[in-house]
């Protein structure tokens, strides 16, 4: 089989032959690096879908290299909307700033006893490995690079829904601008997530919380201003 990888030094797609046997994309990349081209650059760590470093795009779809079985004619590219550092290695320090801007952490701790049910409630959200697959899949970034984005909003929701959080309001306040209302609810993030997390639904939940806190949908307000009920339909 042959796979093609987008290289950064010449911005060309280079083809690499591989022996026909089942292997993960990560194994294929390490094999290529070890035997064909030592300059091929990518990030990896755990090989077990938990460190979140190895996400790339395969045929236009986000995948963890360690969890994807490579196929003949696959085209491998780096994640979208990230600065490419080299080949498949991207700069994730900027995307991590979305966590900072949305203050996706426990604001004020309060003592609360958690039942197994409570724990289950945010279990999925806290499975996030910060692989950035959802970020790369989100179409909003094509028009608004300041969008807080799926993983940061999922994480903000995770804390806002925790009984030990005494200050949900601050969390909700901090996800208004470039946040919950900028999402177009397309669910690309949900489809891309290797951990089965559903940022779209979490964003909808954050919208409900926002409304509870007195916020309204700004896009809705804008639209209704321009709407003339007497215009001749």
């Amino acid at each position: 089989m042959t796979i093609t990888i987008l290289r950064s030094h010449n911005k060309q797609e280079e083809a690499y032959p591989l022996e026909d046997k089942e292997r993960t994309l990560l194994k294929a990349l390490t094999d290529i690096k070890a035997t064909q081209d030592a300059s091929l650059t990518f990030s990896a760590g755990c090989r077990a879908s938990v460190c979140g470093t190895c996400a790339v795009r395969v045929n236009g779809k986000e995948q963890l290299a360690c969890a994807y079985k490579v196929q003949d004619q696959d085209v491998i590219e780096p994640l979208q909307y990230h600065e490419v550092l080299r080949d498949l290695k991207v700069n994730k320090s900027l995307t991590k700033k979305t966590l900072q801007r949305s203050t996706a952490w426990l604001q004020t701790f309060q003592e609360a006893s958690l039942t197994p049910k409570d724990e289950k409630f945010s279990e999925k959200q806290s499975d996030c490995i910060l692989c950035d697959a959802c970020y790369s899949a989100c179409p909003v970034y094509a028009v608004n690079p300041d969008f807080l984005g799926p993983f940061a909003l999922t994480r903000a929701y995770r804390y806002s829904s925790d009984k030990r959080e005494a200050d949900t309001k601050t969390l909700v306040d901090n996800v208004q601008s470039n946040g919950v209302w900028d999402c177009i609810l397309c669910a690309e993030c949900t489809l891309a997530c290797p951990k089965g997390i559903d940022p779209k639904t979490d964003i909808l939940m954050l919208r409900s919380l926002s409304i509870e806190q007195g916020y309204t949908d700004p896009t809705f307000v804008q639209q209704s201003f321009g709407f003339d009920p007497n215009a001749g339909f």
Partner: protein, 411 residues
């Protein structure tokens, strides 16, 4: 009695790590991503800072500090291809301490986890057995009490393999619902890497290197022996909390409790540390060393040797040891060390040079491997994870002691 320690599905470490990360962001702590630790700066036995390779630029960076805390993880990665650890767990921090004149200890104690996936060495956690999973051989027989300590279970599996039998983990009787509740990630990993659904089929497993009990020799304040003001914590350190045989769950307990402790002690140390700044001697030395690696001809592929080293260590310095095999292993490792002159890096790019980082990691592995072997050779007894043919009993009279290795620091 509770069956398991505190846990979050089969994702306990991940959840601790991410909660810590979120708290660090909240506290506005700076991270220097892609900075690879090369060496410590030590002056008259006191820590002065550390030298890093900044992958973004290829520059060698000096960071001066009154105290340093090392938390660089274990050396299970030396068993390349036969470990649950990530690629980079080659004991860099331990090698760095040795080069800086500090002490390391008990390197022969490498824990083998009984149940890793056969083909990929990916971990199937203890909880699978804790919850009632069985181990069976290819004849369908159970051959060991699954709840015995890891070393005993790993050896029992190893013996089955020596008899030509395959070994499987059987969790079918737990049922799909329970499996998805307790081990969702591992079910997914089995499906992906072994093509089997654990609710319906046996999981093929083998024991592989999992945890380093040995490491940087520290005192009760976690200060490194031989380097004042330098602290070490976590898997890279030998805080002696796990003895010769760590119990499942205790590593996360160690890092969460002792991590804070190391931080407190490092902070305390800074109050009385001298203000004398470091000079650039170490930086210049490391700069030259990296330049030399770039200049070195590359006629031998170190990736091949990395795999060969992993296999050698697994086969001859593994679950069951024997002095003649250890001696052979030592010879082979020494030969590899000599061949190192022919191994260079093929990628000459100054920036984001993963080839260089992997070369440096392999260098750490090659530095530590003979010390694991010599410590294993010196311990003519069996204790915890260290099991030696011909010396199957624990011998407290001669060996109730630690093996400490420390080099004289060249000036």
């Amino acid at each position: 009695m509770p069956k398991r320690a505190c846990y979050a599905q089969d994702y306990t470490g991940l959840k601790i790590l991410h909660t810590l990360y979120d708290s660090c962001l909240k506290a506005e702590i700076d991270f220097l991503d892609d900075h690879y630790l090369l060496n410590l700066i030590v002056d008259e036995g006191c820590i002065k800072g550390a030298i890093f390779l900044d992958s973004h630029t290829g520059e060698i960076i000096q960071i001066n500090a009154k105290a340093v805390v090392l938390a660089t993880g274990g050396y299970g990665g030396i068993y390349h291809g036969y470990t649950t650890n990530s690629y980079g767990s080659t004991g860099d921090g331990i090698a760095v301490v040795l080069r800086a004149g500090g002490a390391v200890s008990d390197l022969e104690f490498v824990q083998f986890h009984p149940t890793a996936l056969k083909r990929s060495s990916i971990l199937m956690s203890e909880s699978a057995r804790g919850e009632g999973g069985y181990l069976v051989n290819s004849e369908g027989e159970r051959f060991i009490d699954e709840l015995k300590p890891r070393d005993e279970v790993a050896r029992a599996i190893f013996r089955q393999e020596q008899e030509g039998k395959e070994v499987f983990l059987d969790v079918r009787h737990l049922g799909e619902e329970k499996l998805m509740h307790l081990l969702p990630q591992e079910v997914a990993l089995c499906k992906l890497h072994e093509h089997i659904d654990p609710a319906k089929a046996l999981i093929p497993i083998k024991p592989v290197a999992h945890y380093s009990m040995g490491g940087i020799e520290v005192n009760s304040s976690l200060e490194v022996q031989g380097i004042q003001g330098c602290f070490a914590v976590g898997e890279c350190a030998n805080a002696k909390v796990h003895g010769a045989n760590r119990l499942g769950g205790n590593s996360l307990l160690e890092i969460t409790s002792l991590g804070r402790f190391a931080g407190d002690h490092a902070h305390q140390y800074t109050r009385s540390a001298s203000n004398k700044e470091a000079n650039s001697t170490q930086r210049d030395k490391d700069q030259k060393a990296i330049e030399a690696i770039y200049a070195q001809a590359c006629t031998l592929n170190f990736y091949e040797k990395q795999q060969a080293l992993g296999k050698l260590m697994y086969e001859k310095v593994g679950i069951q040891r024997e002095n003649t095999q250890l001696l052979q292993a030592m010879e082979e490792v020494r030969a590899m060390q000599e061949m190192k002159e022919q191994m260079g890096i093929a990628d000459k790019s100054p920036i984001h040079n993963q080839n260089l980082i992997e070369y440096l990691e392999f260098s750490s592995a090659l530095l530590l491997a003979p010390m694991i072997i010599s410590s294993a050779l010196a311990r003519n007894e069996s204790r915890g994870a260290h099991y030696k043919i011909g010396f199957e009993k624990q011998d407290d009279k001669h060996f109730a002691k630690h093996h400490i290795i420390q080099w004289k620091r060249e000036i």
